[in-house]
């Protein structure tokens, strides 16, 4: 069994909209980019995992191979909601840990265009002829808007408001401050879909989507891709000094699902599994939250980021409102969170997200993040959550020398 797994190559494309390309084009570009960054080629890859949620049944990994190298290695096509990309990475990690591969490639890609609200409940409905019961709840019609909401902006709004109901000092303004921060951070990131700062008033006054989430507090849909090349300890020792110098250690890789809670009957829980994943990751890596130089967490909505401050133990219990009020997660604060701009401004092409956050943290640990570099960063954490629910947390560390 390999003791450690290392990131030796990584790249992402700027998130945005690429109407003249398809997912295979986007995946191919980042895969070749990551291989070049690692100074290697497909000929050395022993496993490939590809995450593309909306084309998960489409053999994306094999399509990718046909563009960049069809070598006969095992391919995993992975889907795990918004944790899809991170799950692809973890699939390669497991192959290396199992000793089946010493080098592998993980790619996350998605093309969403201007999709708007996700899921069938966001689309127009037909008028019924005669009511008939269907589905597991015996519904006679689609119940979105009739029995509350199950669409993402509202689900994550309700998750945030549930936190607000239990803790003083958390409200619309605290949630809005999260988006103010992430938009400001994105102005320094040339790979972000949007790179524009907004004042707190602009965030709060933008069109309301699902209170307390305004438009500027919701991640956009878009296209994008990211890739990582991973290798084992033993393999790393055989590689060029320059590759070794830039290698980033994966100190923890944890995947959880949501354990039973009574409120599952209303909507999926996004907190408990994040807490258990974070606790396991800190233990695996032997680091504590105060050791973290930067965190890329799953801010699909501003309300989500705020509750994850506590779920990831970045603040005291009940202290998420105070943490944002005192600018703790800003890039010059106690624990910089989403210095890339986060999902809210960097963008959230679903399959790419959980790979792109590894790209972001690894790039800082390598000291190659340009204008947005967190100086002297040595330890970082990534977090993604897929509603339903799946949570992946990775801890990355700069090589010792």
């Amino acid at each position: 069994m390999s003791d450690n797994v290392w990131i030796i190559g990584t790249t992402m494309c700027r998130f945005g909209r690429y109407p003249d390309k398809d997912t295979v084009d986007l995946a191919s570009e980042v895969a070749l980019g990551a291989l070049a960054d690692a100074g290697t080629t497909m000929a050395d890859m022993q496993v490939l995992a590809v995450g593309c949620l909306m084309e998960a049944a489409n053999m994306m990994g094999q399509h990718l191979q046909k563009q960049i190298g069809q070598t006969g290695i095992p391919v995993y096509n992975v889907a795990n909601a918004c944790a899809t990309g991170a799950t692809a990475v973890r699939t390669v990690i497991l192959s290396i840990k199992a000793g089946e591969a010493d080098m592998g490639l993980a790619v996350g890609v998605e093309q969403m265009g201007k999709m708007g609200l996700l899921g069938p409940a966001g689309r127009e409905r037909q008028k019924p002829t005669g009511y008939e019961r269907s589905g597991r709840y015996g519904a006679v019609m689609p119940v979105e808007g009739v029995l509350g909401t199950g669409l993402m902006p509202g689900v994550f709004a309700q998750a945030g408001m549930e936190y607000a109901s239990r803790h003083d000092g958390v409200g619309f303004e605290q949630f809005a401050k999260v988006a103010e921060k992430n938009h400001a951070h994105s102005a320094l990131n040339p790979l972000a879909q949007y790179q524009k700062a907004f004042s707190l008033a602009e965030v709060m006054d933008s069109a309301m989507v699902a209170y307390p989430n305004t438009l500027l507090m919701c991640c956009p849909t878009g296209d994008g891709a990211a890739a990582v090349v991973l290798c084992s300890d033993a393999k790393l020792k055989t590689l060029d000094p320059d590759v070794r110098r830039r290698a980033v250690k994966i100190s923890a890789s944890v995947l959880t699902s949501d354990p039973y809670v009574a409120s599952d009957t209303a909507q999926p829980d996004v907190s408990t599994l994040t807490r258990t994943a974070a606790a396991a990751a800190y233990e695996q890596a032997g680091v504590s939250p105060t050791d973290l130089d930067l965190v890329e967490l799953h801010d699909c909505f501003a309300t989500a980021e705020l509750i994850h401050y506590e779920n990831l133990s970045l603040c005291e219990p009940g202290g998420a409102g105070d943490f944002i009020d005192r600018r703790g997660p800003w890039r010059d604060g106690d624990i910089p969170v989403n210095v890339s701009g986060g999902l809210i401004s960097k963008g959230h092409p679903i399959g790419a997200t959980g790979v792109a956050n590894l790209y972001e943290v690894a790039t800082h640990l390598r000291g190659e993040a340009g204008d947005r570099q967190i100086e002297g960063a040595t330890v970082g954490l990534t977090h993604v959550i897929g509603l339903g629910s799946a949570c992946a947390v990775h801890v990355l560390e700069k090589a010792a020398s």
Partner: protein, 133 residues
Amino acid sequence: MGEKAQMAVVDYLVLGDDPHLEANACRSCGALFFDRRNACARCGAVGFERRALATTGVVRSYTIIHRAAPNVPVPYVSTVVELDGGGVVKANLVDAGSDPDKIELGMKVRLTTFACGRDEEGTEAVAFGFTPA
């Protein structure tokens, strides 16, 4: 004109003189589910019984939806309600407006029903929601 036909919008809403929700309760640990289960998600036991739930509870969370699918009227308030005696359910908060300053987290609510559609045969679909108690 015969009696107007009504149908509950989902099968866990029981209509009649005393409208209420009904859940499948695990015989072993009491966990509640609104759909059918093969075994209990909480304890793994396989026996369930139908249980009528309370019609009163508290607002555990809410959101005010301003952007929705094309023919869903907005704004509306979606709420997560914790029922007295057990059960957590999502529904619309009705008769409470859509001003966040007037909706209180933790406020007491009670179940109500409302017509939510009519099919071409004249059958009325009836949904449940919650109203300030």
